[in-house]
C-alpha cells in the first residue's frame, strides 16, 4: 500500500512541470557549472562564511550586539537552505523508483516497500556522508544552542570555501598524486625524530639536562630542531647531544628541501592539466564556438582573422611549438591529441560548437576527426583542408560540409599571372584581402527600407561599392548576377554581395541594422 503510494507520488512528480522547473532552478543555482548565476551565489556564500567567522572572532572579547546575532542567524539559514537544496538534487530518486516499478511491471510482480526504501536511503545517505556534506553540516550544527560547546567547529565553515575554489581542489589532487614520495619523506622524518629523541632522552633525560623532564620533551625538541625552527628553549648540554643535533639539523634540512621540490615539481607537472580544466570550463560557457584543429600556418592565419572578426574560437594542436604561438597571441588553446575520441568529445560534443575547421597537414588525422564528429552529429558544420588532390573525394564521402584544397586555388590564381598581372591582382585581392578593399555580404531582412526599391533609389551606386550579385533565399532564380541599377527591386531575404572599402561597407551595414530598430 505504502509502496504504491510512493510509486504514484514519483509518477506525479515526473508529470509535474513546476516541480522540474524548481529543481532545475536550484540545480542551476548550486551545482550547474555552466549557469550564469552560480558564480554570484558562490561569492555570496564565501562572503557569508567570512562574515560569520569574523563575528565569532569578535565575540571572544566583546559582547555580541543584537543585530550581529540576526546576521548570524540569516547566514545559518542560508547554509541550511543550501544544504537541503544540495540534498534534494543529489540524486534523481523519482526516476529510479519509476524505473524499478517498470521493471517490476514487466515481471508482473508487485513493487516491494523494502526495495523502494533501500533505493531512497542508499542514495541520500551516500550524500549525507560525503565529505562536502559533512563540512556543510559541521558549519551548521554549532549554531544549535545545546551544542554551543562545538563553537570551535565554526572554523569548519572556512572549509566550505574549498567547495567554491577549483584551484584548491586541484592542489590537493596534486598532493594526492605524489602520495608515494611524500609518504616516504614523512616516514623518513618520523624515523629521524624518533631516533634522535630516543638518543637524546637516553643521554640527557636522566638529570643531565635540567630542561628535559620526560620523553615528550625530547620529541618536542626533536621536532623543533628538525624543522629548523629552533626556539632554543631546550638545548643539548652533553657532547653526544650536540653531535646528534648536528645530524638532525642536516637531515631535517634535506627532508624539507626534498618535500618542497616534490610538491613544486608535481605542481608544475600538473599546471597544464589545471590550465586545461580552466579552458574547458571557459569554453563551456560560450555559444557558437568555432574549433580549429591544427595550428599550423593556415590555422594561425585563420585564427588571426577570426580574432579580428570578434569570433569565439579555440585552437587544438599537439605541437608545443605551434601552441607557443597561440599563447603569444592570447588565444584559447588546448594541448591535445586530436585523434583520440576523448579530445573530440571534451571539446566538440560537450560544448555549443557551431563550426569545426580541420587545418592539420595530415589528411588521415583530418579524416579521423571529421568521421568522429559526423558519426555523432550532423549539426556541426565542418570545413576540412585536404592536403592531396587524391584525398578530396574521401572528404566528400565522409560528408565534410566544405573541403578546401589550398594548393589548387593558389595554382588557379598563380596561372592567371602568365597573362597580364592585372587580372591576377584583382583575383588575389578578392581571395586574400590585402588592402582595405573587401568582398562582403549584406542581408536585407523584413522591415528594411530597402525592400521594393532599386539600387539607384537607395543610392548604393553613389557609395563607391561594386555590387557583384544578389543571392535569394527563395524563388526560382537564386542568383542574380550584376543586378540592374534602375530595374532590380530588392526583396525580403535578399543578400547583397559586394566589393568595396571596408569603411563604406561598414556604413551600409550600420544603416541596414538601424532600419530594423
Amino acid at each position: 500500500m505504502l509502496a504504491r503510494l510512493i510509486v504514484s507520488f514519483a509518477y506525479f512528480l515526473e508529470s509535474s512541470k513546476r516541480y522540474k522547473r524548481v529543481k532545475t532552478a536550484i540545480y542551476n543555482l548550486l551545482e550547474n557549472p555552466r549557469s550564469k548565476i552560480k558564480p554570484y551565489f558562490d561569492i555570496f556564500i564565501i562572503f557569508l562564511v567570512l562574515l560569520t567567522v569574523s563575528i565569532l572572532i569578535y565575540d571572544i572579547e566583546h559582547h555580541l550586539p543584537y543585530h550581529f546575532e540576526v546576521m548570524e542567524n540569516i547566514a545559518v539559514s542560508v547554509f541550511i537552505f543550501e544544504w537541503i537544496g544540495r540534498f534534494w538534487i543529489s540524486a534523481n530518486l523519482r526516476l529510479r523508483i519509476i524505473k524499478y516499478h517498470e521493471r517490476k511491471l514487466e515481471l508482473e510482480e508487485k513493487p516491494k516497500l523494502s526495495t523502494i526504501l533501500k533505493i531512497i536511503f542508499q542514495q541520500k545517505l551516500q550524500y549525507i556522508f560525503s565529505p562536502m556534506s559533512i563540512i556543510d553540516l559541521l558549519a551548521i550544527l554549532p549554531t544549535y544552542r545545546p551544542l554551543r560547546i562545538l563553537r570551535i567547529f565554526l572554523i569548519f565553515r572556512l572549509f566550505k570555501i574549498f567547495r567554491y575554489t577549483k584551484s584548491l581542489n586541484s592542489f590537493f589532487k596534486v598532493i594526492k598524486d605524489k602520495k608515494f614520495e611524500l609518504n616516504f619523506l614523512l616516514l623518513l622524518g618520523l624515523f629521524a625524530v624518533f631516533m634522535s629523541s630516543t638518543i637524546m632522552y637516553v643521554f640527557e633525560g636522566g638529570g643531565e639536562n635540567p630542561k628535559i623532564h620526560s620523553f615528550l620533551d625530547t620529541i618536542y625538541w626533536s621536532v623543533i630542531t628538525i624543522t629548523t625552527v629552533g626556539y632554543g628553549d631546550i638545548t643539548p648540554v652533553t657532547l653526544t647531544g650536540k653531535v646528534i643535533t648536528v645530524f638532525l639539523v642536516g637531515g631535517g634540512f634535506l627532508i624539507l628541501v626534498l618535500s618542497t621540490s616534490v610538491v613544486t615539481n608535481a605542481l608544475s607537472e600538473k599546471m597544464s592539466v589545471v590550465r586545461e580544466g580552466k579552458v574547458l570550463s571557459q569554453i563551456g560557457k560560450m555559444t557558437n564556438l568555432i574549433v580549429i584543429f591544427g595550428f599550423g600556418r593556415m590555422g594561425q592565419i585563420l585564427a588571426a582573422q577570426l580574432k579580428k572578426g570578434h569570433k569565439k574560437f579555440i585552437v587544438v594542436d599537439i605541437s608545443d611549438e605551434n601552441l607557443e604561438k597561440a599563447k603569444e597571441f592570447d588565444y584559447l588553446y588546448m594541448h591535445a591529441d586530436a585523434s583520440s575520441y576523448d579530445t573530440v568529445n571534451n571539446i566538440v560534443f560537450k560544448n555549443d560548437v557551431k563550426k569545426v575547421v580541420l587545418t592539420t597537414n595530415n589528411d588521415a588525422l583530418n579524416l579521423s576527426i571529421l568521421l568522429s564528429i559526423k558519426a555523432k552529429t550532423d549539426k556541426i558544420g565542418i570545413i576540412a583542408r585536404a592536403n592531396s588532390y587524391e584525398n578530396i573525394k574521401k572528404f566528400h564521402i565522409a560528408k565534410a560540409d566544405h573541403v578546401i584544397f589550398p594548393y589548387q586555388t593558389v595554382a588557379e590564381v598563380a596561372v592567371e599571372y602568365i597573362g597580364n598581372s592585372v587580372k591576377f591582382d584583382a583575383i588575389d585581392n578578392i581571395l586574400v584581402q590585402k588592402e582595405s578593399i573587401t568582398i562582403d555580404e549584406i542581408d536585407i531582412l523584413e522591415g528594411s527600407d530597402y525592400i521594393g526599391k532599386t539600387i539607384t533609389q537607395i543610392g548604393l551606386d553613389k557609395l563607391g561599392v561594386t555590387i557583384i550579385a544578389i543571392l535569394k533565399e527563395s524563388g526560382k532564380e537564386k542568383f542574380v548576377f550584376n543586378p540592374h541599377h534602375h530595374e532590380y527591386r530588392f526583396q525580403k531575404d535578399d543578400s547583397i554581395v559586394l566589393i568595396g572599402e571596408e569603411k563604406d561597407i561598414f556604413k551600409i551595414k550600420d544603416e541596414v541594422a538601424r532600419q530594423l530598430l
Binding site: K311, Y407, T409, E412, V465, N482, E501
Partner: protein, 229 residues
C-alpha cells in the same frame, strides 16, 4: 608556345603544372629533390634535377632565353628566395611569382626580385574564414568559378583612339549598358598597381590602361565593339 619555368614540384607546383598542361604552354619543371623530379616525369611532365651550384641550369631551361614566367613554388622557403634572386640576376624582365609561407615574407621576396607573391595558407585560411563569416560571399564565388565558361574575370586594354581614350571614368555610364561588372583598372600613369573602382577615385582613362571586368565572353565582346564606335 609560351615558355614557363616551374621551380618546385610541390603540391602547389603540381597543381600549376596540371593547369598548364596544354598546347599553349611549354612548361619546364626543375626541382632539387630527385624523388619529386621522378614523380613529375612519371606524371607526364618534363622535369629536370638541379642542385643550384651555379646558374647554368637556369639558363638552360630558358631563363633569360625566352622564358616568360618563373614560378618559385618549392616547399623550401630559402631555396625559393635563392632561385628568385638568381633568376632576377639573369633576366631583368622575367615575371617571377614566388610562394611565401606568411605575409611577413612578402617584402623579403619582392626585395629579392619577385614581382608577386602568393601563399597557399593565406588563400586556404581566407577561404575557411569566408565560409564561416561570409557564407553568401563564398557561395557567390563558388558560383562564379562553377560558371567558369560563362562568367569570368577578363582584362581589356583600352586601344589608342578608341571611344574611351582620354575620358574620365565618371563621365561615362559604363555600368548599365552591358551586363558587365567593372572591378578595377591598372592606370599606366600611376605605376603597376591595380586599383579597385570601389576605392571611389575618378580616373582618366588613357590608351594602354587595362580595365578588369567580370562577365560573360559575349558581353566582353560587346564592350570591345563599343570601344571602337
Amino acid at each position: 608556345m609560351r615558355k614557363i619555368v616551374l621551380f618546385g614540384y610541390s603540391k602547389t607546383g603540381r597543381e600549376i603544372a596540371k593547369l598548364l598542361l596544354n598546347d599553349e604552354y611549354e612548361v619546364t619543371i626543375i626541382d632539387e629533390n630527385p624523388l619529386l623530379v621522378a614523380l613529375a616525369n612519371e606524371e607526364g611532365f618534363f622535369a629536370r634535377h638541379t642542385s643550384f651550384k651555379d646558374d647554368k641550369i637556369l639558363i638552360e631551361v630558358g631563363i633569360g632565353n625566352g622564358a616568360e614566367v618563373l614560378f618559385c613554388v618549392s616547399d623550401d622557403d630559402s631555396l625559393n628566395l635563392f632561385v628568385t634572386l638568381s633568376a632576377r640576376n639573369i633576366d631583368k624582365n622575367l615575371k617571377i611569382l614566388t610562394k611565401i609561407l606568411k605575409k611577413e615574407d612578402e617584402k623579403k621576396m619582392i626585395l629579392a626580385g619577385a614581382n608577386r607573391t602568393i601563399s597557399p595558407y593565406d588563400v586556404g585560411a581566407a577561404k575557411a574564414y569566408r565560409i564561416i563569416q561570409k557564407p553568401k560571399v563564398s557561395k557567390v564565388l563558388n558560383q562564379l568559378s562553377a560558371l567558369k565558361n560563362k562568367i569570368s574575370i577578363s582584362e581589356i586594354e583600352i586601344p589608342k583612339g578608341s571611344a574611351w581614350d582620354g575620358v574620365y571614368l565618371n563621365d561615362i555610364d559604363i555600368k548599365q549598358d552591358i551586363n558587365l561588372i567593372f572591378l578595377g583598372m591598372l592606370d599606366k600613369d600611376l605605376g603597376e598597381k591595380f586599383i579597385f573602382f570601389a576605392k571611389g577615385i575618378n580616373h582618366k582613362l588613357d590608351a594602354g590602361d587595362i580595365i578588369v571586368v567580370l562577365g560573360s565572353k559575349k558581353d566582353i565582346g560587346l564592350l570591345e565593339d563599343k570601344l571602337w564606335k
